[in-house]
Amino acid sequence: MNLLFKLAWRNIWRNKRRSYITLAAIIFATFATIAMRGIQLGTYGVNIKNAVEMFTGYLQIQRIGYQENPSLNLAFSLEDSLQNILETNDKIISFTPRVYAAGLISYKDNSYGSAIFGIDPSKEKKTSKIMDKLKNGYFFTSDTSLEIVIGEKLLNNLKVNIGETVVILAQAFDGSLGNLKFKITGTVKTGSPELDNMAVFMSIRTSQELLALYGNRIHSIAIKLNSLENMGEVQDSLKSNIKSKNLAVLNWEEVMPDLKQSIDLDNISGLLMLIILIIIVAFGILNTVLMSVTERFNEFGVTLSIGMPQIKLVLLVLIETVFIAIIGIIIGDILGYAINNYFYFNPIEFGSEFAYIYEEYGFLPVMQSSINPYIIVNNTILVLTISVIACLYPMYKVYRLEPLKGIRHT
């Protein structure tokens, strides 16, 4: 009702100071929550994209059961039908086959455990960034060469140089221990300790030789998509199109469950912080509204006497609170949007001391905000809801107010 809106608006400005302070609290709550969530979610996005494009891929196709237990035996062939499905999906930019095994790499008296990856350089280049991470030397080119590129830390640990020959020992498909001599032609530095400390990249054909994976058997296909948002859709599409019963299509969350869950964990703690903040501000709102209501009991009493329906008076209180909340939220949204925008285009990079820790846990030492509008929408709804909840008790007091009690109120 127009009358209510008019009254509500004027009532807000009766006590300017109080309203301003309440407004400030709401602005703070809105803006702080948007900024915090922005940085949190933005940084997750950065890390996910980085991890996914570095090597794992947005999606992977593997044998069912391989993810839980990456046994050498769980290999499959890249059939034409599968190839066709992948090539005809317009959201798939490229894909590449991979072979994987654990092995021992030795140079003179030193041996280290290693993760052997058989890759197809031409396809790999289009699908992941691993080849861009070449630090020194070069990547093998021919299919059958016995050249390898290893992680930089691994090179150091082995105390070997590029150009030298090493021995790689691995358990083959038929159970025998295969070993071959390889020449190191280059190193990669990815920033991910798992790769830098243990990765050995060789041509996929060579790896299949070493591991007796005849018939062009591979362990996984890594797929690059045009956008992270299409992940679900493409995954579903592939699942329904792939006829083979023993192949699974996995997204990065399933391939890197640790990353997913550590993001989830951090997410929870962020949400918790949000809720705590909002609750505290809610108390402030409760107090303010309650005060402004009890101050007016006399006036309310008279108003009820002359016949104003009780409900309308209760609504009045609600509308007053919502007005202030909305103003505060709008300003908070604008500020939050500005900050998120700023930190989206100007991400924060960490000093070396903290960078170290982040890398240990597989995170990039970068904080970037997100301009996803859902952040603003969700937080708006949150602050609005809590404002309404906070004024429920004062509304109740007005609901129960009897005209005479109001008039006589001191």
Binding site: L304, S305, I306, G307, P309
Partner: protein, 226 residues
């Protein structure tokens, strides 16, 4: 024509746990157009009686009829609506909503009744003229003196042509000159528009002007005119 009729009206309330028999059996008939003053010493129950007559309170015993309608048969909501349509109130203080202008205060009940703006405006402006407070039209209560506020309150009370106006100590916060002016106003409305007025007061000024004086003592009425 009978406006108000009470039958054996009793009201008891608790004052710090001690029961007080404010009204012990009031039998009363008030007719349209009357100018009644309920008088009595402080604490004699006049405000209590007025509140009952104004459907703001419920009796402990007995019944109140307004033009034949029994208050006790109505729900709170019905009583509230009833007050809106049939009654007008002038209280001692806090009559006006501080954030509304005089005109808006006067039109308040008309707005609640859903009367369109043109009509509302016409009525309120006319009243403002009649009560000689036209210059206050767009002022807020904070910009008016006590006397002016009360006059606007009277305007508000009668704008929807109520059958009955109840005034509880309307002159209590005013000096005698302003009080007299206010009472002149209300008397005029009583005569010109035939609106029934019931006052409760211990102010000499009010009592002197009573056309019918009801003395309330020990919870019982002594009708001075009978």
């Amino acid at each position: 024509m009978e406006i108000i009729k009470t039958e054996n009206l009793k009201k008891t309330y608790k004052d710090n746990g001690v029961p007080v028999n404010a009204l012990r059996g009031i039998n009363l008939i008030i007719n349209k157009g009357e100018h009644v003053v309920i008088a009595g010493p402080s604490g004699s129950g006049k405000t209590t009686l007025l509140n009952l007559l104004g459907a703001l309170d419920k009796p402990t015993e007995g019944r109140i009829f307004f033009k034949g309608e029994d208050f006790s048969l109505k729900t709170k909501k019905e009583l509230s609506d009833f007050r809106l349509r049939n009654l007008g109130f002038v209280f001692q203080a806090y009559n006006l909503i501080p954030v509304l202008s005089a005109t808006e205060n006067i039109e308040f009940s008309l707005m609640l009744l859903g009367i369109p703006e043109k009509e509302r405006r016409a009525k309120s402006l006319k009243l403002l003229e009649e009560l000689e407070i036209a210059d206050l039209a767009y002022k807020r209560p904070g910009e008016m003196s006590g006397g002016q506020q009360q006059r606007v309150a009277v305007a508000r009370a009668i704008v929807n042509n109520p059958k009955l106006v109840l005034a509880d100590e309307p002159t209590a916060n005013l000096d005698s000159k302003t009080g007299a002016l206010l009472l002149d106003l209300m008397d005029k409305m009583n005569v010109e528009k035939n609106i029934t007025f019931i006052f409760s007061s211990h102010d000499q000024l009010v009592i002197e002007r009573a056309k019918r004086l009801l003395l309330l003592k020990d919870g019982l009425i002594n009708d001075q005119n009978n």
